[in-house]
Amino acid sequence: MWGGKLRLPPTSDPGSLTMRERIGRTGGELRRLAHDRGLLLVLVVVVALVATFVVFPLFQVFRESIFPRGQFDATHFVRFFQGAPFLITPFFNSLILGGLVALTGTVVGFTFAFAIARANVPGSRVFRWIATLPMISPPFIMALAAILLLGNRGMITQVIHNVFGVRWSIYGLPGLVLTQTLAYFPVAFMALEGVLRAIDRSTEEAAFDLGASKLRTFVKVTLPLAAPGIGAALLLLFVISLGDFGNPIVIGGRFQVLTVQAYLAITGRYNMPLGATLAILLLVPTALVFIVQRYWLSRRSHVTVTGRPTPSTAHASGPLLRWVLFGVLCFLSGVILLFYGMVVYGAFTHLWGVNHALTMDNFRYVFSVGRRYFMNTVQLAAIATPIGGILGILIAFLVTRKRFPGRKTLDFLSMMNFAVPGIVVGIGYLLAFNAPPLRLTGTAAIILAVFVFQRMPVAIRDGAAMLQQVDAAIDESASDLGAGFMRTFGRIVLPLVAPAMFSGMAYMFATCVTSISAVVMVVSARWQLMTVALLNDVDNAQLSRAAAWGVVIIAVVLAAIFVLDVLVSRLLSRRGSHGR
């Protein structure tokens, strides 16, 4: 009756086990793959896509910077270390700008987060809505608005000139800090609101109980607990500012930054190696920040996640602080609304700074001459969004639920573009797909590829979050009952995450429609996009028409969010009887 021989718990040296067992693991996974055709096929396709559209372009940027025309030539890097201004200046300018925006953006973001999450200011829903507005509009809308108000022919500028006789304008570092802060503080707000809400209120209450004042509690308890979140927000804003292209090209003036210089080197001077070198100079600090974030900051989180929401009766602030915060939020929101209002107003004027008479001409232009840009943008974004969304979930499913050799590598590579600034991706695409075998330059395909693969890390992260809501036993059941990989994914996994996927798609569509930094490198005469048209109009001092583009872009995004929202609630109500 004894099927198993008696064994005592393992006493063998674990070190000696490692080698044999490690080989055993990879071997087992490989042999498994050989028996699982569906998974193997999907893996081959996914790996090929990631290699072609993520790894290869980035590799091309590195190659171009040190092996231009196939020969080793590190001149630009040598010049950089020798202190050549055309390389050093944009490098340090970018770092300075990034540092400043990280500070201001985090302060504004924290103020919003604290006021809404902890101080219970009145009208918090309105404030939250205003704070998310910049996230769904093209970030350089802020720069456009700043020019309308404070540019050479801006409303406020002209008042200053008339009253004080001073010629002053916002171009350069001040304008950049202002516009990037307004455009990107919502990122810090979102992150910090989550962190502040996650801090267990009992820690603060304990401090009060022990006799600490509110200020002391804030400084000694709340801030240290939020510190990892604040650190993360600082780093994130730094990276976003560094990679921003839209604002500096509009309002940067003589203040040279890496993204714009790389763009100008390639499109203006056709100097590919210089452009690639500037891209690498941009990539290095960005990548460093992500490494710091990943391996250092992420281990220092003190926030206790209990999964049980603590009732949000705020004690953290007295009435005085609450009203002060309310005032600050009103002011900041007022500025944001003023900026957006300026764009809307500007869109209905003849020629900004010259003739402010109201007209519909700009919109007539947008929907006649510019109709093709509109259609291109909407169509390409509409095609890229479901592809990107499904691909994101597919890769998330592969790396979280399946076992195969190289799983961690695929995870890393597919998430890599998260840490690569858009302009670097764009330059990579320009270099990678300029020649056979994959000549895509000038086609719609290259824009689609940029849309899909630049957003892919976000799609994968969202996909992984969605899959966490699906019990692993569900998809295991499907394969247990005989379903192959494609059937399990298509019939079980996708339908279950569909509602969440559609919600995520609205955001993905928005980022495609509003994106500029990567696509600006790959658009062509045939395939122009609205954001690029907007920049061109700014460049040609057609500010009113640029504003009209801005209004249309925001309208498209809002419409998409609305449509997908309706779609999701339809889907959920239809499935109501089945719903999870």
Partner: protein, 360 residues
């Protein structure tokens, strides 16, 4: 006879960043055709990992799995003829009960009429007739459990795998469902591997029990053998309750063995192989395998320090002279009288129930 399901030196190592965990350590197991074998052990003992390797959800680090003499070690779940009843059921929430059960048949390309017939039949078998149109989350927990069972049965697997299938049910339903599963399993003659941490459940449902601890199968036997002749201290302690007494083999005669208990009298028990006079041993005495008698009458004596009355049973803790605590369970205490703490008692051991182990 060759087992229908065979595990050979099956090992699973999980590699973490800094450490590796040997979840299953060279497990050997045979499940004969038509029998139900239970993997029993505390949480983290490797029983679920073993089951998941049989189902194809984990890839073994080394070792082999054979099903009806075919090697299935690396086959993905969809290519092995096993079916699992998951702890959380894993029902497809976007499909009706009927569609859930029909899923495996559709994959196997059965004809529509055939599918309908088989699904209705199997639903009736588990008592769910008429509920096919419902979405699974409109059913009670017990009904969901039966849908999961039904969905596994309908594809007529060579082996049915149960991963703690009753742990989400309340106590009463658990006993009902357990008996239902056992009855179905016997009638249909399905080879089954069953995982649980509940020893009562294992005892009630199994032909054979494999007790696992720290990744190893430590003993395999019938419920009777596991309880009466535990292979080591861990198993004696894990299955039911046990008192451990230390002693020495005083002499061995024809079929009998005299043990001198430390701090007590000697006791005559049935002889076990492998012991010689003078060996130190550990004696396993179940709490119900003794009688409480007057002071000085049994092999042991002491004072009651704790007494609980639970209706069907009285449980006592008796402190022996050497300070050790001895647990005693007395059935139908109404007959024998309930003893108060402080009472001096003697303990008479039922000699046939005593089991002798090596001192570890």
């Amino acid at each position: 006879m060759a087992g229908e399901l065979l595990l050979q030196e099956l090992t699973k190592v999980f590699f973490g960043l800094r450490e590796q965990v040997v979840a299953v350590d060279h497990a050997n197991l045979a499940v004969e055709e038509g029998s139900l074998v239970t993997l029993l052990g505390p949480s983290g003992c490797g029983k679920t990992t073993t089951l998941r390797m049989v189902g194809g959800f984990e890839i073994p680090t080394s070792g082999e799995i054979y099903l009806a003499e075919e090697r299935i070690t690396e086959l993905p779940p969809q290519r092995r003829n096993t079916a699992t009843v998951f702890q959380s059921y894993g029902l497809f929430p976007h499909m009706s009960v009927f569609e859930n059960v029909a899923f495996g048949l559709k994959v196997r390309r059965f004809r529509r009429a055939e599918i309908r017939r088989k699904v209705e039949e199997t639903l009736a078998l588990v008592g769910l007739q008429g509920l096919g149109g419902r979405p699974p989350n409109h059913l009670s927990g017990g009904q969901q459990q039966r849908v999961a069972l039904c969905r596994a049965l309908v594809i007529e697997p060579q082996v049915l795998l149960f991963d703690e299938p009753l742990s989400n049910l309340d106590a009463k339903l658990r006993v009902e469902t357990r008996d239902h599963i056992r009855k179905l399993q016997k009638t249909l003659g399905i080879t089954s591997l069953y995982v649980t941490h509940d020893q009562a459940e294992a005892m009630a449902i199994s032909d054979l029990i494999a007790v696992m601890h720290a990744g190893c199968i430590q003993q395999m036997g019938t419920p009777y053998e596991i309880y009466a002749k535990p292979a080591n201290t861990f198993i004696a302690d894990f299955i039911g309750r046990a008192n451990f007494l230390r002693g020495r083999v005083a002499q061995i005669t024809e079929g009998e063995m005299v043990l001198d208990l430390d701090g007590g009298d000697s006791i005559v028990v049935a002889a076990s192989d492998g012991y010689a006079a003078g060996d130190r041993v550990k004696v396993v005495v179940r709490p119900e395998a003794v009688d409480l008698v007057g002071p000085g009458e049994g092999e042991l004596s002491g004072a009651i320090t704790l007494a609980h009355y639970t209706g069907s049973m009285a449980t006592y803790q008796v402190e022996l002279p050497d300070g050790e605590v001895f647990n005693v369970e007395v059935l139908s205490p109404q007959e024998k009288g309930f003893l108060e703490p402080g009472t001096e008692v003697g303990i008479r051991i039922h000699r046939k129930s005593v089991h002798v182990l090596d001192v570890d």
